[in-house]
């Protein structure tokens, strides 16, 4: 019995369109990825406002202070007290003076004797934070020679 030799047909899929799409995706993700070391804390639910616009020039001397509440996954407050978030550490706002004193020393060491005055305290506070605590924070900062403040809010686009 004779067998007929058939040429083995290897199916090679055309990879070009797939590679095109994958490169498009990579380009997209590269463009939208923000590698900037933001000190924003995701636990803080910022208030939103139409007039909140990013500063025209990026500030170079900034101290970011995140104030918010402990919330569960549903976003409900688990503790009525507002804290300053520093990584995993929760600091009561009224106890933040000592930390500000350290920041003042660091600013003066880095930028000169008036370094703390040139620094901007960027306040990222939860929309439900009692205003009095923000005022207390500003007061503590002033006592340590900080003069510039910026109140952060989400940009509301109508």
């Amino acid at each position: 019995m004779r067998y007929k030799k058939t040429a083995s047909t290897v199916l090679e899929p055309d990879m070009t369109p797939m590679i095109d799409v994958v490169f498009q995706l990579i380009a997209f993700f590269m463009l939208v990825t923000n590698f900037e070391q933001t000190q924003a804390d995701e636990r803080v639910k910022l208030p939103s406002d139409q007039l909140a616009r990013p500063p025209e020039a990026a500030r170079d001397k900034v101290l970011v202070v995140n104030i918010g509440f402990n919330r569960n996954k549903q976003g409900e407050k688990t503790d009525p007290e507002a804290y300053i978030f520093e990584g995993d550490e929760l600091i009561p706002v009224l106890d933040y003076g000592r930390r500000l004193l350290e920041e003042k020393r660091v600013a003066q060491a880095l930028y000169g004797p008036e370094g703390n005055q040139e620094m901007t305290i960027e306040i990222r506070a939860d929309s439900e934070t009692p205003t009095g605590l923000i005022q207390e924070l500003i007061k503590l900062s002033q006592e340590n020679g900080f003069e510039k403040f910026s109140l952060r809010a989400k940009q509301l686009v109508k």
């Binding site: 990879m15 590679i19 994958v22 490169f23 995706l25 990579i26 993700f29 590269m30 939208v32 990825t33 923000n34 590698f35 933001t38 924003a40 910022l46 208030p47 406002d49 139409q50 007039l51 909140a52 616009r53 990013p54 500063p55 960027e122 506070a125 939860d126 929309s127 439900e128 934070t129 009692p130 205003t131 009095g132 923000i134 005022q135 207390e136 500003i138 007061k139 002033q142 006592e143 020679g145 003069e147 510039k148 403040f149 910026s150 109140l151 952060r152 809010a153 989400k154 940009q155 686009v157 109508k158």
Partner: protein, 166 residues
């Protein structure tokens, strides 16, 4: 003479696609995992050197525009008052405040525009979002035609905190 045509068989060099695709997929996964969607943030600037908070500075000739924000026990807004005039506590209170400040500031060529200052005096337990609304209402508005921000007052400061029980 017999020309010998040396036939060189065309050898098709096929680039190895598999490693490239591997790397490309690795890159894709890396970027997908590191992607963090952050909402656009803006800010309001406040300059408050020590000594300007407690009392009005005698150097400033023009008294600040005082905006009083009162709160209910749960921190919600109880009322907005500007220069003893109540502007309500509903959603339109801050629009009214914006209009009042606009009337006060007047035209853009107001010679005292740069010296004008707003002092926000809020109850201790008032939710911070109302303060942001008040700061926004005092500092300007967004032109609905072109989306540009028209600034009224650049200087904003806070009154001393009204601690409970004081």
């Amino acid at each position: 003479m017999k020309l010998r045509s040396s036939r060189v068989s065309a050898t098709k060099i096929e680039a190895q696609m598999a490693p490239m695709i591997d790397v490309v997929f690795q890159l894709l996964i890396f970027f997908m995992l590191t992607l963090k969607i952050i909402p656009l943030e803006g800010d309001f600037n406040i300059n408050m050197p020590l000594g300007q908070q407690a009392t009005d500075s005698p150097d400033i000739d023009i008294p600040p525009i005082k905006v009083r924000l009162t709160a209910n026990p749960d921190g919600t807004l109880a009322g907005v008052t500007m220069r003893q005039v109540s502007l309500g506590n509903d959603n339109l209170a801050f629009d009214r405040l914006n209009a009042e400040v606009g009337n006060l500031v007047g035209r853009r060529d107001n010679p005292f525009l740069d010296d004008l200052e707003v002092e926000i005096d809020a109850d201790y337990n008032l939710h911070y979002r109302h303060v942001i609304s008040a700061v926004s209402a005092c500092t300007g508005y967004v032109n609905p035609q072109n989306g540009n921000v028209i600034r009224y007052v650049e200087k904003v400061k806070f009154a001393p905190p009204r601690r409970p029980g004081t």
